[in-house]
Amino acid sequence: MATNTSSGTQVPSKGGFPAFRVETYGSQLLWLAIAFGLLYYLMSRHIAPRIGGILEDRASRIASDLAAAQTMKAEADAATASYEKSLAEARANAQAIAAETKAKITAEADAERKTLEAKLAADLSTAEATIAKARESAMGNVRSIAVETAQAIVERLAGASAEASRVEAAVDAALKR
C-alpha cells in the first residue's frame, strides 16, 4: 500500500505492469546482489557465529550445571547412606547394651531376693521356735496357777487342805477337755 510520493524520476519504460518491465531488471538485480551479498556476509561472518555461540555457551553451561548437580546429588546420597548405616549401628549397639544391662540387673535382683528370702525364712523359723517355747512355758504357768487356785478354793470351801496330787490330776483332766 505504498504511494510513491518520494522525490525522484520515474524509471523510463514502455509502460505495462511495473514488475514485468524487463528494462528495470538490470538495476534490480545489481542492487539485490549487493544488498543480499552484504546481508549474507554479515550473517555468515558475524550474526550466525555470534548467536550460535551464545546458544552453545548456554547449552554447555546448563549441561555442566546439570552434571555438577548430579555429582552433588550422588554425594548427598552417599552421605545419607553412610548416615543411615551409622544410625543402624548405633541402634544395634544401644539395643545390645540395654539387653546386657537388663540381664545384669535381673540377675542382681534375683540374687538379692534369694538372700532376703533365705534370711526371712530363717527369721521366721527362729520366731516360730520362740513362740512355741513361750507358749509351752505359758501353758506350764497356767497349770501351776490353776493347781494353786484350785487348792486355795478347796481350802476355803471345804476348810481342809486338799491333797496336792489329787488337785493336780483334776486340773490336768480339766485342761485336757
Binding site: 505504498a2 524509471v11 511495473p18 514488475a19 538495476s27 534490480q28 542492487w31 555470534r50 546458544l55
Partner: protein, 249 residues
C-alpha cells in the same frame, strides 16, 4: 480513484548507467538496504551483550535463529547447517522485505518478480552446484528414483526433470503473487474509501465498510507476510535436502 498499480512503480533516486544499460539506484534498491539494515541491526545490536540470560531483544533474535535452525535441522539434517547462513539470510530478507512493505508509503521489494526469481534461482543454483560438487554424477539419480521398472523410467525421468525445473518458478511466483495481490487488494479498498467519502454524508457513512475491510485485510497481509517468508524458507530447506541426500526422495 488512485491507480492501485502505482505503488509498484520504480523511481530513480540516483540514476546510474553502465554501458547504456540502466543500473540506477531506485526506491526498490533503497528498501532492499533498509531490509538488510533492519535485519542486521536487530540481530547484531540485540546480541551485542552476549548475555547468558538474554534480554528481551536478544531472546527474540535467539528465537528467530532457533526457529530457522530448527527448520534447517529438521528438513536437511545436521549436515544442512552449512547452508544455515544462506537460509537465515533468505528468511530475514524476505520477512523484512514483506513486513517493511506493510508500512504505508514503503515499497515492497518482494512484489517484483525479478527479485523473488533471483532469490529462487540462488537457491536452485546452490542445490545444483553443491549437489554436483558433493555427489558428482550420482546427484542425477535424483531424477531417476531407484526400484522402478525400466519401462516407465523414461516417463518418470521427464516428470522429475519438469518438477525440478518448475521449483524455482513456483518458489518465485508464490511470493511475488501473494505480495502483489495483497497490496493491490489493499489499494483497491483504500480507493473505495476515498471515492465513497467524496460522495456526501451517506457516502462517508458507507465508507466505513471498506475501512473495516482494509483493517481486516491488513491483519491478513501481516500474516501472509510472515507466512510467505516461512514458506520460502521451508521450501528452500526441502530443495537443499535434495543437494545433500539425492537418494532419499
Amino acid at each position: 480513484m488512485a491507480d492501485p498499480i502505482k505503488q509498484f512503480e520504480l523511481v530513480h533516486l540516483v540514476p546510474l548507467k553502465i554501458g547504456g544499460a540502466d543500473f540506477g539506484f531506485t526506491n526498490s534498491s533503497l528498501h532492499m538496504f533498509i531490509a538488510v539494515g533492519v535485519t542486521a541491526a536487530f540481530l547484531l545490536l540485540s546480541t551485542s551483550g552476549r548475555r547468558l540470560v538474554p534480554t528481551r531483544m536478544q531472546s527474540m533474535a535467539e528465537l528467530a535463529y532457533e526457529f530457522v535452525a530448527g527448520t534447517v535441522r529438521q528438513t536437511t539434517g545436521k549436515e544442512g547447517m552449512k547452508f544455515f547462513p544462506l537460509v537465515f539470510s533468505l528468511f530475514m530478507f524476505v520477512l523484512f522485505g514483506n513486513l517493511i512493505g506493510m508500512i504505508p508509503g514503503a515499497f515492497t521489494v518482494t512484489s517484483h518478480i525479478i527479485v523473488t526469481a533471483a532469490l529462487a534461482m540462488l537457491v536452485i543454483t546452490t542445490v545444483i552446484v553443491y549437489g554436483i560438487m558433493k555427489h558428482g554424477t550420482h546427484w542425477f539419480a535424483l531424477f531417476a528414483p531407484s526400484g522402478l521398472p525400466k519401462a516407465i523410467l523414461p516417463v518418470i525421468v521427464v516428470i522429475e526433470v519438469i518438477s525440478f525445473l518448475s521449483r524455482p518458478i513456483s518458489l518465485s511466483l508464490r511470493l511475488f503473487g501473494n505480495m502483489t495481490a495483497g497490496h493491490i487488494a489493499l489499494k483497491v479498498f483504500a480507493g473505495f474509501v476515498t471515492a465513497m467519502a467524496g460522495a456526501g454524508v451517506l457516502g462517508m457513512m458507507g465508507a466505513t465498510l471498506p475501512v473495516l475491510m482494509i483493517t481486516a485485510l491488513t491483519a491478513l497481509e501481516l500474516l501472509v507476510a510472515v507466512l510467505q517468508a516461512y514458506v520460502f524458507t521451508i521450501l528452500t530447506c526441502i530443495y537443499l535436502n535434495d543437494a545433500l541426500h539425492p537418494g532419499h526422495h
